[in-house]
Symmetry: C2
């Protein structure tokens, strides 16, 4: 029942945005009674923060699994960028974006969202370092990984108003080459 409520919340955030999401609507979509919903998640903020955290945990586990399917050597960097790009164009990114933006002007939501944003940001950084198999102790490498993740967030944002996949593929083709050259340069 908990999982059904969280999945309905993500669907609601993606379809109707944060402002259009309500605990009543989520209960209805999930087919769960209001009483049961209130028992699990007393407030809208509890519900939306738990839903984004739940989805993040799922995505992190998927990255662990994807690790095994990525090519080794040539083509790996581009494949890693492709895997990370799937995340910024997924319902997780859309739902998280709705939360981050709503939290900007809602102090109570911000108090719940800020720790989650830090945690997911660090988690994704660690995942990117693992997938790219880079050594962050070399000067500049950490910043290149951070830039890669910020670039991906920008690409996620650019994809929210329409399908940006062709432009994104060209940018990531170029960025994979740049990243490989730069990592060699910094090595």
């Amino acid at each position: 029942m908990r999982a059904r409520l969280l999945e309905a919340t993500i669907q609601c955030l993606v379809d109707a945005g944060f402002a259009g999401t309500s605990t009543t609507l989520v209960s209805k979509i999930a087919g769960v009674s209001r009483g049961a919903q209130l028992h699990h998640f007393p407030t809208k903020n509890d519900l939306v923060v738990a839903a984004v955290r739940h989805l993040y945990d799922q995505r992190a586990a998927e990255f662990e699994a994807a690790q095994r399917d990525l090519p080794v050597g040539e083509g790996r960097t581009r494949a890693v960028l492709g895997a990370l790009a799937e995340y910024v164009t997924s319902p997780f990114f859309t739902a998280a974006l709705e939360l981050w933006v709503a939290a900007r002007s809602d102090e109570q939501l911000l108090a719940a969202v800020a720790p989650l944003e830090i945690e997911t940001g660090r988690g994704l950084h660690r995942i990117a370092v693992d997938l790219l198999q880079v050594d962050e102790t070399r000067p500049g490498v950490r910043e290149l990984v951070q830039a890669t993740l910020d670039l991906l967030r920008g690409l996620g944002l650019a994809n929210t108003l329409g399908d940006d996949s062709r432009r994104r593929a060209r940018i990531l083709d170029q960025w994979a080459q740049t990243l490989d050259r730069e990592l060699k340069e910094l090595g």
Copy 2:
């Protein structure tokens, strides 16, 4: 009076978000009668789209002026990135972000916002090409400029929940070096 309404709208979008912005609140902040406000901008959508366009026009003019103050030769790339970063951490970016995200789940707003998003995106791309003084006919250069702008949008997003200026400065230091080396490589 028109300018006062548009500036009040930006203030309202930045402080209260899209959901918290209303034509009544904007009239109040601007000190303009409801009748006069409705005469200039009949709907909330008219008001918010005009406000973001107005601010974009101002920023574009500022970039034209900034052009003259940028160093030539060494240090130029980093200075250009700094100027562009100011834009993604300004009220313009915050107000535009509120609109883009709200438009995702609001068809009527999307119809007004989509052309503005394309126009401002193209405008900023042209500004970046001019400031960086690069030749986009060389293969890969266009994609690097686009990646730079998407990186900046990602950095803008990362700055919405708290001050990210120190991390941003380190990333842009590294990005400036990367960009200079890559542009030489692609040349």
